[in-house]
Symmetry: D2
Subunit: 148 residues, 4 copies
Protein backbone atom coordinates (compact mmCIF):
# COMPACT_ATOMS: atom_id res chain seq x y z
CA UNK A 1 0.00 0.00 0.00
CA UNK A 2 1.27 3.43 -0.82
CA UNK A 3 0.59 5.28 2.35
CA UNK A 4 1.65 3.60 5.49
CA UNK A 5 -0.58 0.64 6.12
CA UNK A 6 2.51 -1.42 5.36
CA UNK A 7 4.60 -2.32 8.38
CA UNK A 8 8.05 -1.16 7.32
CA UNK A 9 7.69 2.39 8.54
CA UNK A 10 6.97 1.15 12.03
CA UNK A 11 9.71 -1.43 12.50
CA UNK A 12 11.34 0.84 15.07
CA UNK A 13 8.37 0.09 17.33
CA UNK A 14 9.42 -3.55 17.63
CA UNK A 15 12.17 -2.51 20.04
CA UNK A 16 10.93 -2.22 23.62
CA UNK A 17 13.40 0.53 24.52
CA UNK A 18 11.51 3.16 22.49
CA UNK A 19 8.45 3.10 24.74
CA UNK A 20 7.92 5.49 27.63
CA UNK A 21 4.97 3.82 29.34
CA UNK A 22 3.62 0.30 29.58
CA UNK A 23 0.21 -1.19 30.22
CA UNK A 24 -0.47 -4.88 30.89
CA UNK A 25 -3.75 -6.52 29.85
CA UNK A 26 -4.65 -10.19 30.35
CA UNK A 27 -6.03 -11.82 27.23
CA UNK A 28 -9.56 -13.21 27.62
CA UNK A 29 -10.98 -16.37 26.09
CA UNK A 30 -13.56 -14.02 24.61
CA UNK A 31 -10.83 -12.32 22.54
CA UNK A 32 -10.34 -15.50 20.50
CA UNK A 33 -11.86 -16.15 17.09
CA UNK A 34 -12.49 -19.29 15.03
CA UNK A 35 -8.81 -19.46 14.05
CA UNK A 36 -8.04 -20.06 17.73
CA UNK A 37 -5.97 -16.92 18.05
CA UNK A 38 -6.77 -13.45 19.35
CA UNK A 39 -9.01 -11.68 16.85
CA UNK A 40 -7.58 -8.63 15.09
CA UNK A 41 -10.11 -6.31 16.66
CA UNK A 42 -8.76 -7.13 20.13
CA UNK A 43 -5.56 -5.28 19.27
CA UNK A 44 -7.61 -2.12 18.78
CA UNK A 45 -9.14 -2.78 22.19
CA UNK A 46 -5.67 -3.17 23.72
CA UNK A 47 -4.53 0.14 22.23
CA UNK A 48 -7.71 1.78 23.55
CA UNK A 49 -7.02 0.32 26.97
CA UNK A 50 -3.46 1.67 27.00
CA UNK A 51 -4.54 5.25 26.26
CA UNK A 52 -7.54 5.10 28.59
CA UNK A 53 -5.36 3.99 31.47
CA UNK A 54 -2.59 6.43 30.70
CA UNK A 55 -4.21 9.63 29.48
CA UNK A 56 -7.94 9.65 30.27
CA UNK A 57 -7.48 10.27 34.02
CA UNK A 58 -5.33 13.34 33.23
CA UNK A 59 -8.07 14.72 30.98
CA UNK A 60 -10.97 13.87 33.29
CA UNK A 61 -9.26 15.77 36.11
CA UNK A 62 -10.40 18.86 34.17
CA UNK A 63 -14.04 17.80 34.11
CA UNK A 64 -16.16 14.91 32.88
CA UNK A 65 -16.65 16.75 29.58
CA UNK A 66 -12.93 16.71 28.75
CA UNK A 67 -12.06 13.61 26.78
CA UNK A 68 -10.34 12.53 23.59
CA UNK A 69 -11.69 11.00 20.41
CA UNK A 70 -9.92 8.79 17.92
CA UNK A 71 -9.29 10.35 14.50
CA UNK A 72 -7.24 7.58 12.92
CA UNK A 73 -5.64 4.28 13.74
CA UNK A 74 -3.21 1.99 12.01
CA UNK A 75 -2.14 -1.47 13.12
CA UNK A 76 0.47 -3.91 11.80
CA UNK A 77 -0.17 -7.53 12.75
CA UNK A 78 3.19 -9.27 13.07
CA UNK A 79 2.51 -12.41 15.09
CA UNK A 80 -0.46 -14.25 16.53
CA UNK A 81 -1.52 -13.48 20.08
CA UNK A 82 -2.50 -16.44 22.23
CA UNK A 83 -4.70 -17.33 25.16
CA UNK A 84 -4.10 -17.85 28.00
CA UNK A 85 -1.58 -15.10 28.47
CA UNK A 86 -1.28 -11.38 28.76
CA UNK A 87 -0.10 -8.60 26.50
CA UNK A 88 2.08 -5.62 27.24
CA UNK A 89 1.32 -2.45 25.33
CA UNK A 90 4.11 0.10 25.02
CA UNK A 91 3.29 3.73 24.30
CA UNK A 92 5.38 6.59 22.93
CA UNK A 93 4.26 10.03 21.73
CA UNK A 94 5.11 10.72 18.08
CA UNK A 95 3.41 14.10 17.57
CA UNK A 96 1.97 16.83 19.77
CA UNK A 97 -0.16 19.36 17.91
CA UNK A 98 -2.30 22.21 19.16
CA UNK A 99 -5.46 20.14 19.63
CA UNK A 100 -4.39 16.65 18.65
CA UNK A 101 -1.55 14.24 19.20
CA UNK A 102 -0.30 10.90 17.95
CA UNK A 103 0.74 7.85 19.91
CA UNK A 104 2.68 4.88 18.62
CA UNK A 105 2.28 1.48 20.24
CA UNK A 106 3.97 -1.88 20.32
CA UNK A 107 2.16 -4.92 21.61
CA UNK A 108 4.22 -7.74 23.12
CA UNK A 109 3.47 -11.22 24.38
CA UNK A 110 6.12 -13.30 26.12
CA UNK A 111 8.59 -10.57 25.29
CA UNK A 112 8.07 -10.79 21.54
CA UNK A 113 6.53 -8.00 19.44
CA UNK A 114 3.23 -9.19 17.97
CA UNK A 115 2.07 -5.89 16.53
CA UNK A 116 2.76 -2.21 16.13
CA UNK A 117 0.59 0.76 15.34
CA UNK A 118 -0.21 4.43 15.63
CA UNK A 119 -3.27 6.42 16.61
CA UNK A 120 -4.26 10.05 16.13
CA UNK A 121 -6.25 11.49 19.02
CA UNK A 122 -8.13 14.77 19.29
CA UNK A 123 -8.70 16.37 22.69
CA UNK A 124 -12.41 16.98 22.76
CA UNK A 125 -15.01 18.93 24.73
CA UNK A 126 -17.95 16.54 24.90
CA UNK A 127 -20.42 19.29 25.83
CA UNK A 128 -19.49 21.85 23.20
CA UNK A 129 -18.69 19.10 20.68
CA UNK A 130 -15.48 20.81 19.63
CA UNK A 131 -11.78 20.06 19.65
CA UNK A 132 -9.92 21.54 22.56
CA UNK A 133 -6.36 22.57 23.30
CA UNK A 134 -5.13 20.16 25.98
CA UNK A 135 -4.78 21.82 29.41
CA UNK A 136 -1.20 22.75 30.36
CA UNK A 137 -0.68 19.86 32.74
CA UNK A 138 -1.94 17.38 30.16
CA UNK A 139 0.41 18.87 27.58
CA UNK A 140 3.26 18.60 30.06
CA UNK A 141 2.37 14.98 30.70
CA UNK A 142 2.20 14.22 26.99
CA UNK A 143 5.68 15.74 26.61
CA UNK A 144 6.99 13.09 29.01
CA UNK A 145 5.80 10.41 26.58
CA UNK A 146 7.96 11.70 23.73
CA UNK A 147 10.61 9.43 22.30
CA UNK A 148 13.93 9.94 24.06
CA UNK B 1 1.79 11.60 11.52
CA UNK B 2 4.30 11.13 8.75
CA UNK B 3 3.12 7.96 7.13
CA UNK B 4 -0.45 7.66 6.25
CA UNK B 5 -2.47 7.34 9.41
CA UNK B 6 -3.72 10.76 8.44
CA UNK B 7 -6.86 10.78 6.35
CA UNK B 8 -5.86 12.88 3.37
CA UNK B 9 -4.52 10.01 1.28
CA UNK B 10 -7.86 8.29 1.48
CA UNK B 11 -10.25 11.12 0.69
CA UNK B 12 -11.08 9.44 -2.64
CA UNK B 13 -12.82 6.71 -0.59
CA UNK B 14 -15.48 9.16 0.57
CA UNK B 15 -17.11 8.93 -2.86
CA UNK B 16 -19.47 5.99 -3.14
CA UNK B 17 -18.86 5.51 -6.85
CA UNK B 18 -15.39 4.05 -6.27
CA UNK B 19 -16.67 0.90 -4.57
CA UNK B 20 -17.33 -2.36 -6.38
CA UNK B 21 -19.20 -4.24 -3.67
CA UNK B 22 -21.36 -3.28 -0.71
CA UNK B 23 -22.25 -4.92 2.58
CA UNK B 24 -24.96 -3.72 5.00
CA UNK B 25 -24.66 -4.27 8.75
CA UNK B 26 -27.17 -3.12 11.37
CA UNK B 27 -25.56 -1.31 14.28
CA UNK B 28 -26.17 -2.97 17.66
CA UNK B 29 -26.71 -1.25 20.98
CA UNK B 30 -23.73 -3.30 22.10
CA UNK B 31 -21.50 -1.37 19.65
CA UNK B 32 -21.98 1.82 21.68
CA UNK B 33 -19.51 3.16 24.23
CA UNK B 34 -19.78 5.66 27.10
CA UNK B 35 -19.70 8.57 24.65
CA UNK B 36 -23.03 7.32 23.29
CA UNK B 37 -21.67 6.69 19.84
CA UNK B 38 -20.39 3.57 18.12
CA UNK B 39 -17.02 2.63 19.57
CA UNK B 40 -14.00 2.86 17.27
CA UNK B 41 -13.37 -0.88 17.46
CA UNK B 42 -16.76 -1.56 15.84
CA UNK B 43 -15.46 -0.09 12.59
CA UNK B 44 -12.79 -2.81 12.53
CA UNK B 45 -15.60 -5.33 13.07
CA UNK B 46 -17.57 -3.83 10.16
CA UNK B 47 -14.53 -4.09 7.85
CA UNK B 48 -14.05 -7.69 8.99
CA UNK B 49 -17.69 -8.41 8.24
CA UNK B 50 -17.41 -6.95 4.75
CA UNK B 51 -14.48 -9.17 3.76
CA UNK B 52 -15.90 -12.27 5.47
CA UNK B 53 -19.13 -11.92 3.55
CA UNK B 54 -17.46 -11.11 0.26
CA UNK B 55 -14.28 -13.18 0.09
CA UNK B 56 -14.31 -15.95 2.72
CA UNK B 57 -16.88 -18.12 0.89
CA UNK B 58 -14.71 -18.01 -2.25
CA UNK B 59 -11.68 -19.19 -0.26
CA UNK B 60 -13.53 -21.84 1.76
CA UNK B 61 -14.80 -23.40 -1.46
CA UNK B 62 -11.22 -24.69 -1.74
CA UNK B 63 -11.26 -26.34 1.67
CA UNK B 64 -11.76 -25.37 5.29
CA UNK B 65 -8.02 -24.81 5.62
CA UNK B 66 -7.96 -22.02 3.03
CA UNK B 67 -8.52 -18.67 4.69
CA UNK B 68 -7.01 -15.20 4.93
CA UNK B 69 -5.29 -13.40 7.79
CA UNK B 70 -5.02 -9.71 8.41
CA UNK B 71 -1.54 -8.24 8.06
CA UNK B 72 -2.35 -4.57 8.51
CA UNK B 73 -5.27 -2.24 8.92
CA UNK B 74 -5.74 1.50 8.87
CA UNK B 75 -8.91 3.42 9.65
CA UNK B 76 -9.80 7.11 9.41
CA UNK B 77 -12.67 8.17 11.65
CA UNK B 78 -14.52 11.00 9.95
CA UNK B 79 -17.93 11.15 11.65
CA UNK B 80 -19.70 9.50 14.54
CA UNK B 81 -21.78 6.40 13.86
CA UNK B 82 -25.12 6.21 15.65
CA UNK B 83 -27.59 3.68 16.98
CA UNK B 84 -30.20 2.75 15.96
CA UNK B 85 -29.24 2.53 12.32
CA UNK B 86 -27.20 0.52 9.91
CA UNK B 87 -23.93 1.01 8.11
CA UNK B 88 -23.00 0.31 4.53
CA UNK B 89 -19.43 -0.81 3.89
CA UNK B 90 -18.05 -0.30 0.41
CA UNK B 91 -15.12 -2.39 -0.81
CA UNK B 92 -12.61 -1.87 -3.61
CA UNK B 93 -9.40 -3.76 -4.33
CA UNK B 94 -6.30 -1.55 -4.28
CA UNK B 95 -3.55 -4.16 -4.72
CA UNK B 96 -3.32 -7.78 -5.82
CA UNK B 97 0.02 -9.43 -5.07
CA UNK B 98 1.15 -13.02 -5.40
CA UNK B 99 0.01 -14.10 -1.95
CA UNK B 100 -1.58 -10.98 -0.48
CA UNK B 101 -3.93 -8.22 -1.50
CA UNK B 102 -5.24 -4.92 -0.19
CA UNK B 103 -8.79 -3.72 0.14
CA UNK B 104 -9.96 -0.17 0.72
CA UNK B 105 -13.23 0.52 2.45
CA UNK B 106 -15.63 3.36 3.02
CA UNK B 107 -18.24 3.17 5.74
CA UNK B 108 -21.46 5.12 5.30
CA UNK B 109 -24.47 5.85 7.47
CA UNK B 110 -27.52 7.63 6.10
CA UNK B 111 -25.58 8.14 2.89
CA UNK B 112 -22.73 10.05 4.53
CA UNK B 113 -19.16 8.78 4.76
CA UNK B 114 -18.25 8.19 8.41
CA UNK B 115 -14.90 6.53 7.86
CA UNK B 116 -12.43 5.16 5.38
CA UNK B 117 -9.64 2.65 5.61
CA UNK B 118 -7.48 -0.01 4.09
CA UNK B 119 -6.51 -3.55 5.02
CA UNK B 120 -3.74 -5.87 3.87
CA UNK B 121 -4.77 -9.53 3.74
CA UNK B 122 -2.65 -12.62 3.25
CA UNK B 123 -4.19 -15.78 1.77
CA UNK B 124 -3.27 -18.46 4.28
CA UNK B 125 -3.20 -22.24 4.58
CA UNK B 126 -4.35 -22.85 8.13
CA UNK B 127 -2.97 -26.40 8.21
CA UNK B 128 0.51 -25.75 6.82
CA UNK B 129 0.60 -22.33 8.50
CA UNK B 130 1.97 -20.68 5.40
CA UNK B 131 0.92 -17.99 2.97
CA UNK B 132 -0.70 -19.28 -0.16
CA UNK B 133 -1.17 -18.06 -3.71
CA UNK B 134 -4.92 -17.50 -4.12
CA UNK B 135 -6.59 -20.14 -6.34
CA UNK B 136 -7.28 -18.97 -9.90
CA UNK B 137 -10.99 -18.42 -9.39
CA UNK B 138 -10.34 -16.37 -6.25
CA UNK B 139 -7.81 -14.28 -8.12
CA UNK B 140 -10.32 -13.78 -10.90
CA UNK B 141 -12.92 -12.70 -8.36
CA UNK B 142 -10.50 -10.29 -6.70
CA UNK B 143 -9.82 -8.74 -10.12
CA UNK B 144 -13.51 -7.86 -10.33
CA UNK B 145 -13.11 -5.77 -7.18
CA UNK B 146 -10.46 -3.52 -8.74
CA UNK B 147 -11.20 0.16 -9.07
CA UNK B 148 -12.77 0.93 -12.44
CA UNK C 1 -29.67 -27.14 39.16
CA UNK C 2 -32.57 -26.71 41.48
CA UNK C 3 -33.91 -23.36 40.52
CA UNK C 4 -34.55 -22.79 36.95
CA UNK C 5 -31.25 -22.54 35.15
CA UNK C 6 -32.37 -25.83 33.65
CA UNK C 7 -34.33 -25.55 30.44
CA UNK C 8 -37.48 -27.50 31.20
CA UNK C 9 -39.43 -24.61 32.64
CA UNK C 10 -39.02 -22.70 29.44
CA UNK C 11 -39.86 -25.31 26.84
CA UNK C 12 -43.03 -23.38 25.98
CA UNK C 13 -40.75 -20.70 24.51
CA UNK C 14 -39.62 -23.06 21.75
CA UNK C 15 -42.95 -22.51 20.00
CA UNK C 16 -42.93 -19.42 17.82
CA UNK C 17 -46.64 -18.74 18.28
CA UNK C 18 -46.15 -17.52 21.86
CA UNK C 19 -44.20 -14.44 20.85
CA UNK C 20 -45.78 -11.03 20.32
CA UNK C 21 -42.88 -9.22 18.67
CA UNK C 22 -39.88 -10.23 16.59
CA UNK C 23 -36.48 -8.74 15.95
CA UNK C 24 -34.01 -9.93 13.29
CA UNK C 25 -30.24 -9.64 13.77
CA UNK C 26 -27.58 -10.80 11.30
CA UNK C 27 -24.86 -12.86 12.93
CA UNK C 28 -21.38 -11.38 12.57
CA UNK C 29 -18.13 -13.28 12.06
CA UNK C 30 -17.04 -11.47 15.21
CA UNK C 31 -19.70 -13.38 17.20
CA UNK C 32 -17.84 -16.66 16.63
CA UNK C 33 -15.49 -18.28 19.12
CA UNK C 34 -12.77 -20.93 18.81
CA UNK C 35 -15.37 -23.70 18.61
CA UNK C 36 -16.49 -22.16 15.30
CA UNK C 37 -19.98 -21.41 16.55
CA UNK C 38 -21.57 -18.27 17.95
CA UNK C 39 -20.22 -17.61 21.44
CA UNK C 40 -22.66 -17.86 24.33
CA UNK C 41 -22.29 -14.19 25.19
CA UNK C 42 -23.70 -13.22 21.80
CA UNK C 43 -27.09 -14.56 22.86
CA UNK C 44 -27.12 -12.01 25.68
CA UNK C 45 -26.30 -9.37 23.07
CA UNK C 46 -29.19 -10.56 20.88
CA UNK C 47 -31.63 -10.34 23.82
CA UNK C 48 -30.31 -6.85 24.57
CA UNK C 49 -30.83 -5.88 20.95
CA UNK C 50 -34.42 -7.13 20.98
CA UNK C 51 -35.40 -5.04 24.01
CA UNK C 52 -33.45 -1.99 22.86
CA UNK C 53 -35.24 -2.00 19.52
CA UNK C 54 -38.63 -2.72 21.01
CA UNK C 55 -38.83 -0.83 24.29
CA UNK C 56 -36.05 1.75 24.54
CA UNK C 57 -37.62 4.19 22.03
CA UNK C 58 -40.87 4.15 24.07
CA UNK C 59 -38.95 5.02 27.25
CA UNK C 60 -36.69 7.63 25.65
CA UNK C 61 -39.75 9.47 24.34
CA UNK C 62 -40.13 10.56 27.98
CA UNK C 63 -36.62 12.00 28.19
CA UNK C 64 -33.04 10.84 27.78
CA UNK C 65 -32.93 10.05 31.49
CA UNK C 66 -35.69 7.42 31.26
CA UNK C 67 -34.19 4.02 30.58
CA UNK C 68 -34.23 0.46 31.87
CA UNK C 69 -31.57 -1.61 33.61
CA UNK C 70 -31.18 -5.35 33.67
CA UNK C 71 -31.79 -7.00 37.05
CA UNK C 72 -31.51 -10.64 36.04
CA UNK C 73 -31.10 -12.80 32.99
CA UNK C 74 -31.36 -16.50 32.30
CA UNK C 75 -30.54 -18.27 29.05
CA UNK C 76 -30.95 -21.89 27.92
CA UNK C 77 -28.65 -22.90 25.08
CA UNK C 78 -30.41 -25.52 22.99
CA UNK C 79 -28.58 -25.57 19.67
CA UNK C 80 -25.52 -24.00 18.12
CA UNK C 81 -25.91 -20.77 16.21
CA UNK C 82 -23.95 -20.48 12.98
CA UNK C 83 -22.37 -17.89 10.71
CA UNK C 84 -23.21 -16.75 8.14
CA UNK C 85 -26.86 -16.37 8.95
CA UNK C 86 -29.25 -14.34 10.99
CA UNK C 87 -31.22 -14.90 14.16
CA UNK C 88 -34.81 -14.04 14.97
CA UNK C 89 -35.54 -13.09 18.56
CA UNK C 90 -39.11 -13.46 19.77
CA UNK C 91 -40.35 -11.48 22.76
CA UNK C 92 -43.29 -11.98 25.11
CA UNK C 93 -44.05 -10.23 28.40
CA UNK C 94 -44.26 -12.62 31.35
CA UNK C 95 -44.68 -10.16 34.24
CA UNK C 96 -45.57 -6.49 34.65
CA UNK C 97 -44.87 -5.09 38.10
CA UNK C 98 -45.05 -1.57 39.44
CA UNK C 99 -41.47 -0.63 38.51
CA UNK C 100 -40.15 -3.73 36.81
CA UNK C 101 -41.20 -6.28 34.25
CA UNK C 102 -40.03 -9.58 32.80
CA UNK C 103 -39.61 -10.58 29.19
CA UNK C 104 -39.19 -14.09 27.84
CA UNK C 105 -37.34 -14.69 24.60
CA UNK C 106 -36.82 -17.41 22.05
CA UNK C 107 -33.99 -17.25 19.59
CA UNK C 108 -34.39 -18.97 16.24
CA UNK C 109 -32.13 -19.66 13.28
CA UNK C 110 -33.46 -21.16 10.07
CA UNK C 111 -36.77 -21.58 11.84
CA UNK C 112 -35.38 -23.76 14.63
CA UNK C 113 -35.25 -22.71 18.27
CA UNK C 114 -31.62 -22.42 19.37
CA UNK C 115 -32.21 -20.91 22.79
CA UNK C 116 -34.73 -19.53 25.24
CA UNK C 117 -34.48 -17.21 28.18
CA UNK C 118 -35.95 -14.60 30.45
CA UNK C 119 -34.86 -11.17 31.66
CA UNK C 120 -35.99 -8.96 34.52
CA UNK C 121 -35.86 -5.25 33.71
CA UNK C 122 -36.25 -2.25 35.99
CA UNK C 123 -37.48 1.06 34.60
CA UNK C 124 -34.87 3.52 35.78
CA UNK C 125 -34.34 7.27 36.11
CA UNK C 126 -30.70 7.72 35.13
CA UNK C 127 -30.48 11.18 36.73
CA UNK C 128 -32.05 10.41 40.09
CA UNK C 129 -30.57 6.90 40.04
CA UNK C 130 -33.84 5.35 41.19
CA UNK C 131 -36.38 2.88 39.89
CA UNK C 132 -39.36 4.46 38.21
CA UNK C 133 -42.94 3.49 37.51
CA UNK C 134 -43.21 3.18 33.73
CA UNK C 135 -45.18 6.04 32.13
CA UNK C 136 -48.78 5.12 31.19
CA UNK C 137 -48.13 4.77 27.49
CA UNK C 138 -45.14 2.52 28.13
CA UNK C 139 -47.26 0.39 30.46
CA UNK C 140 -49.94 0.20 27.81
CA UNK C 141 -47.35 -0.86 25.26
CA UNK C 142 -45.94 -3.51 27.58
CA UNK C 143 -49.49 -4.87 28.04
CA UNK C 144 -49.59 -5.53 24.30
CA UNK C 145 -46.60 -7.83 24.69
CA UNK C 146 -48.38 -10.13 27.13
CA UNK C 147 -48.89 -13.74 26.17
CA UNK C 148 -52.21 -14.21 24.40
CA UNK D 1 -40.31 -14.84 37.78
CA UNK D 2 -41.27 -18.27 38.89
CA UNK D 3 -38.21 -20.23 38.18
CA UNK D 4 -35.01 -18.81 39.36
CA UNK D 5 -34.24 -15.72 37.34
CA UNK D 6 -35.05 -13.85 40.54
CA UNK D 7 -32.10 -13.25 42.81
CA UNK D 8 -33.39 -14.54 46.13
CA UNK D 9 -32.37 -18.14 45.58
CA UNK D 10 -28.80 -17.07 45.13
CA UNK D 11 -28.30 -14.69 48.02
CA UNK D 12 -25.94 -17.20 49.65
CA UNK D 13 -23.50 -16.42 46.83
CA UNK D 14 -23.03 -12.88 48.10
CA UNK D 15 -20.81 -14.23 50.88
CA UNK D 16 -17.21 -14.67 49.77
CA UNK D 17 -16.59 -17.61 52.11
CA UNK D 18 -18.66 -19.98 49.98
CA UNK D 19 -16.28 -19.90 47.03
CA UNK D 20 -13.52 -22.44 46.49
CA UNK D 21 -11.57 -20.70 43.73
CA UNK D 22 -11.07 -17.12 42.60
CA UNK D 23 -10.18 -15.46 39.31
CA UNK D 24 -9.27 -11.78 38.89
CA UNK D 25 -10.05 -9.89 35.68
CA UNK D 26 -9.29 -6.23 35.02
CA UNK D 27 -12.25 -4.33 33.61
CA UNK D 28 -11.60 -2.76 30.21
CA UNK D 29 -12.89 0.56 28.93
CA UNK D 30 -14.37 -1.53 26.13
CA UNK D 31 -16.67 -3.26 28.65
CA UNK D 32 -18.53 0.01 29.25
CA UNK D 33 -21.83 0.95 27.63
CA UNK D 34 -23.67 4.25 27.10
CA UNK D 35 -24.81 4.25 30.74
CA UNK D 36 -21.14 4.59 31.72
CA UNK D 37 -21.10 1.32 33.60
CA UNK D 38 -19.97 -2.16 32.64
CA UNK D 39 -22.47 -3.67 30.19
CA UNK D 40 -24.46 -6.68 31.35
CA UNK D 41 -22.92 -8.93 28.74
CA UNK D 42 -19.48 -8.42 30.29
CA UNK D 43 -20.59 -10.39 33.34
CA UNK D 44 -21.17 -13.40 31.08
CA UNK D 45 -17.66 -12.85 29.74
CA UNK D 46 -16.27 -12.75 33.29
CA UNK D 47 -18.00 -16.04 34.16
CA UNK D 48 -16.64 -17.56 30.95
CA UNK D 49 -13.17 -16.36 31.87
CA UNK D 50 -13.40 -17.91 35.34
CA UNK D 51 -14.28 -21.37 34.01
CA UNK D 52 -11.81 -21.18 31.12
CA UNK D 53 -8.97 -20.37 33.51
CA UNK D 54 -10.01 -22.93 36.07
CA UNK D 55 -11.35 -25.93 34.19
CA UNK D 56 -10.37 -25.79 30.51
CA UNK D 57 -6.69 -26.66 31.09
CA UNK D 58 -7.77 -29.80 33.02
CA UNK D 59 -9.96 -30.86 30.09
CA UNK D 60 -7.48 -30.00 27.35
CA UNK D 61 -4.86 -32.17 29.06
CA UNK D 62 -6.92 -35.04 27.65
CA UNK D 63 -6.75 -33.78 24.08
CA UNK D 64 -7.71 -30.72 22.09
CA UNK D 65 -11.07 -32.30 21.36
CA UNK D 66 -12.08 -32.44 25.04
CA UNK D 67 -13.90 -29.27 26.01
CA UNK D 68 -17.09 -28.10 27.66
CA UNK D 69 -20.12 -26.30 26.26
CA UNK D 70 -22.56 -24.07 28.06
CA UNK D 71 -26.08 -25.44 28.43
CA UNK D 72 -27.60 -22.70 30.59
CA UNK D 73 -26.65 -19.56 32.40
CA UNK D 74 -28.37 -17.31 34.90
CA UNK D 75 -27.10 -13.99 36.23
CA UNK D 76 -28.41 -11.65 38.93
CA UNK D 77 -27.22 -8.07 38.57
CA UNK D 78 -26.97 -6.54 42.04
CA UNK D 79 -24.73 -3.50 41.63
CA UNK D 80 -23.03 -1.58 38.86
CA UNK D 81 -19.49 -2.51 37.91
CA UNK D 82 -17.13 0.37 37.20
CA UNK D 83 -14.04 1.21 35.20
CA UNK D 84 -11.21 1.53 35.96
CA UNK D 85 -11.01 -1.39 38.32
CA UNK D 86 -10.97 -5.14 38.40
CA UNK D 87 -13.45 -7.83 39.31
CA UNK D 88 -12.97 -10.97 41.33
CA UNK D 89 -15.04 -13.98 40.30
CA UNK D 90 -15.62 -16.67 42.91
CA UNK D 91 -16.51 -20.20 41.83
CA UNK D 92 -18.16 -23.08 43.68
CA UNK D 93 -19.50 -26.36 42.29
CA UNK D 94 -23.22 -26.87 42.93
CA UNK D 95 -23.85 -30.10 41.01
CA UNK D 96 -21.75 -32.88 39.49
CA UNK D 97 -23.64 -35.18 37.14
CA UNK D 98 -22.46 -37.97 34.88
CA UNK D 99 -21.73 -35.74 31.88
CA UNK D 100 -22.54 -32.27 33.12
CA UNK D 101 -21.99 -30.06 36.14
CA UNK D 102 -23.11 -26.73 37.52
CA UNK D 103 -21.02 -23.88 38.84
CA UNK D 104 -22.22 -20.95 40.90
CA UNK D 105 -20.40 -17.64 40.77
CA UNK D 106 -20.19 -14.42 42.67
CA UNK D 107 -18.64 -11.33 41.13
CA UNK D 108 -17.07 -8.75 43.41
CA UNK D 109 -15.58 -5.30 42.94
CA UNK D 110 -13.84 -3.49 45.77
CA UNK D 111 -14.94 -6.32 48.03
CA UNK D 112 -18.65 -5.84 47.36
CA UNK D 113 -20.83 -8.39 45.57
CA UNK D 114 -22.07 -6.93 42.29
CA UNK D 115 -23.66 -10.06 40.87
CA UNK D 116 -24.29 -13.75 41.31
CA UNK D 117 -25.15 -16.54 38.93
CA UNK D 118 -25.04 -20.15 37.91
CA UNK D 119 -24.04 -22.02 34.78
CA UNK D 120 -24.69 -25.54 33.55
CA UNK D 121 -21.79 -27.03 31.59
CA UNK D 122 -21.62 -30.20 29.54
CA UNK D 123 -18.30 -31.97 29.01
CA UNK D 124 -18.09 -32.37 25.27
CA UNK D 125 -16.11 -34.27 22.65
CA UNK D 126 -15.66 -31.71 19.87
CA UNK D 127 -14.79 -34.36 17.28
CA UNK D 128 -17.60 -36.81 17.94
CA UNK D 129 -20.00 -33.96 18.78
CA UNK D 130 -21.30 -35.79 21.85
CA UNK D 131 -21.41 -35.28 25.58
CA UNK D 132 -18.66 -37.04 27.47
CA UNK D 133 -18.17 -38.32 30.99
CA UNK D 134 -15.42 -36.17 32.48
CA UNK D 135 -12.12 -38.05 32.87
CA UNK D 136 -11.39 -39.25 36.42
CA UNK D 137 -8.86 -36.55 37.23
CA UNK D 138 -11.22 -33.84 36.02
CA UNK D 139 -14.00 -35.32 38.15
CA UNK D 140 -11.64 -35.37 41.14
CA UNK D 141 -10.75 -31.73 40.49
CA UNK D 142 -14.42 -30.73 40.20
CA UNK D 143 -15.03 -32.44 43.56
CA UNK D 144 -12.54 -30.04 45.14
CA UNK D 145 -14.77 -27.15 44.00
CA UNK D 146 -17.79 -28.38 45.97
CA UNK D 147 -19.20 -26.17 48.67
CA UNK D 148 -17.62 -27.00 52.04
Amino acid sequence: MSDGVGTKGRDWLMDRVVFRQWCRVPVRYNDLDPLGHVNNTATAIFFEEARCQLITPKLKAHGAHVDMVLAATSIDYRRELHYPGEVEIGTVLTRLGSKSFSLAHGIFQDGICAGTGEVVLVVFDLERRTALAPPDDVRAFLETLKAA
